[in-house]
Symmetry: C2
Subunit: 389 residues, 2 copies
């Protein structure tokens, strides 16, 4: 019946169409991935002439790849074991060539690589998935950045459901991305809007504004979104850890946000967090502005990974003294997140030893695994309920 | 020198990294597409073991495909002739399998198909490309839709540069997508924000708000953005041309926008336009609300393509009478856009004949080619300067 209705609609609409844009009808009828109630997943790919089709996924153990098998119609398929709740990512290798799944429109870009994703629902992933709850607004906003000598830079901002109504003022979380990322990273790979929507709807997190700026001082915005910027993004580039972003941050970003959004513009209603390079930025911005943030939460922070081929700017000097001053001013929360196989693990051990030596009272959350988005989503989901309470 | 600096940065940052996420480094060093000053473009693809690699592009004549040739390193390449200014789209076929270009991160989704894109700069495409001009804000906003029985639906909204400053009120263009599209279609494939930014900066268009709602009455938002919606989108589905969207539009969409944005809430500061199904929606929404829109511009409108397998709702009845009433009330502009090879061309001829019969004074813009985004970008670029003058 549904198929008949569809055909009736299609004929009514399209009539005697000649295929003017094959793009419109190039969708096939393969279902992939098929997520079953038992939490196994079947991947499918149509390729009668291929010799070998593999799936590479975050959920696969052995080399992270598995072979699909071909049926008589040329459809390759593979069914997983029962998968853990998570936002899982995968791609295909067809005769050795990496490609995304043409039957799954859900993709995310990590720096310069697209990867498909899907969700297994469960306790860990419950807040990553869109639910029937009030949704906040997500906007791309341009602001002037005299501190970086730029007329305009862009941030992503989440304003909670209800922001457009009434006159209420809100606390603000500044949430910073890692090297190679941009102002889209936390909202896409990090599921920041969904995590915030769900935690706020459950009454577990305070309604808050989340500002996700671009942390690459050589960029105005993500590649393609400003003039002459349509190049492939790279993991490392100029302007990421040279002190400029951190120096410009208080006036250019926080100042703009306080002037243009209904914020509660004081220390105890301001938080800063970030992953990897963004953890590093969080540490230095807060250490150099000890009266600005009441909540500080570096995640998998790239401590001591600043650029070495220049004189260190003042903002990177005397961190130990600055941390002592910061903790004397008693932030409400200083919470350090790290995975136990992270390549930055030992640097974070050393950072904590330094804080311990001075009796700085921080909190510590150590997870399994390493420098991966699965951890950063988990950390954000843990962090939001601890802010502004 | 640049490469050395990059290596220094990479080593400083990554140190003894073990490849925890191969995703991070899976970017290769192939440049594709390479857009040259002479407006030729070279595509490249690394596949030493492939038998045949082709590019399919909007800019290719013969079957729209061309074969790449392999060099001794296994890099396939093809260089085009001089290309016309446009936002060009393409994909690869590798041994017959369609895939996007892994070295070009710029992709757009048309319904369920991803396609890469690039720009050739020139008169036609000048406003599609991001320039160093003030940029408006693009937001995803949720609003209640009692008319469709939904607690929340989503639109994309462009507010012009300067909106966040001061108290000025703005006119509004409602810009509707086609069948299978969603509230992201005009901002992505249609380059609406870039076209508006550039025309406003040049003083050619009035600063305006552009509201791009979701025109599928069975959806709350684009697939994946509301609960239980992670399915592959389809070209046709329920809720597209059954009268419900048109009926709910004035109160649910226009009412919300006038209540929550600084609009000039009268007929001569309100415009409606849309492509294909959105052109159809524009025609019926304006015909049924003759005092609501001063500017009406159906593009490649799917006239008479409403669902046939039900009794026609009142909103679709007596169009001829309604058009006469509409024109008696003298809209500032009624401009019909159509391509001369569009499968809907004849329906638009008949529609104009009907208007002619009654002496309705519309404008008419006929382009080459058919039912394609290249035309809809061109039409929008033509339309914005004619609004609110």
């Amino acid at each position: 019946m549904k198929r008949l209705l569809f055909l009736a609609l299609l004929i009514a609409f399209v009539g005697n169409i000649r295929a003017q844009e094959t793009i419109m009808f190039n969708t096939g009828n393969i279902v992939s991935p098929e997520i079953k109630n038992d939490q196994t997943v079947t991947f499918r790919f149509l390729a009668p002439n291929a010799q070998k089709v593999e799936v590479e996924g975050s959920f696969l153990k052995q080399n992270r790849r598995a072979a699909l098998t071909k049926d008589e119609r040329g459809v390759w398929s593979f069914t997983t074991e029962v998968l853990q709740p998570e936002m899982h990512t995968y791609c295909f290798y067809v005769d050795g060539i990496r490609m995304t799944d043409p039957n799954n429109v859900y993709m995310c870009r990590d720096i310069a690589t697209y990867t498909n994703y899907f969700f297994i629902d469960g306790e860990l992933s419950a807040n990553y998935i869109v639910r029937d709850v009030p949704h906040g607004t997500v906007s791309k906003v341009w602001y002037p950045s005299p501190g970086l000598g730029m007329n305009a830079r862009r941030f992503t901002v989440y304003t909670p459901a209800g922001y457009e109504e009434g006159k209420k003022r809100y606390p603000v979380l500044y949430l910073l991305h890692g090297a190679g990322g941009d102002e889209n990273a936390w909202s896409e790979l990090g599921r920041a809007a969904q995590i915030a929507d769900n935690l706020i709807a459950q009454g577990k997190a305070e309604p808050m504004i989340i500002v996700m700026p671009n942390g690459n001082g050589a960029q105005k915005a993500m590649p393609g979104e400003y003039e002459n910027s349509m190049q492939k993004p790279t993991f490392m580039s100029r302007g990421m850890m040279d002190g400029a972003i951190e120096k410009a941050f208080p006036k250019d970003v926080v100042g703009y946000v306080d002037a243009h959004f209904r914020t509660i513009a004081d220390k105890n209603h301001r938080a800063i967090s970030g992953l990897s390079m963004g953890g590093f930025h969080s540490i230095y911005i807060s250490a150099n502005n000890p009266d600005m943030f009441g909540y500080i939460a570096p995640m998998s922070a790239a401590i001591n990974r600043q650029s070495r081929n220049q004189q260190q700017p003042e903002i990177y000097q005397n961190l130990e003294e600055k941390m002592v001053t910061l903790f004397q001013k008693k932030p409400k929360l200083y919470r350090i997140y790290i995975g136990n196989t992270d390549f930055l693990f030992q640097d974070n051990v050393n950072f904590r030893k330094m804080l311990d030596k001075h009796g700085c009272k921080y909190e510590y959350f150590e997870s399994d695994e390493g420098h991966i988005w699965a951890n950063w989503r988990k950390y954000l989901n843990d962090l939001l309920p601890k802010l502004f309470k």
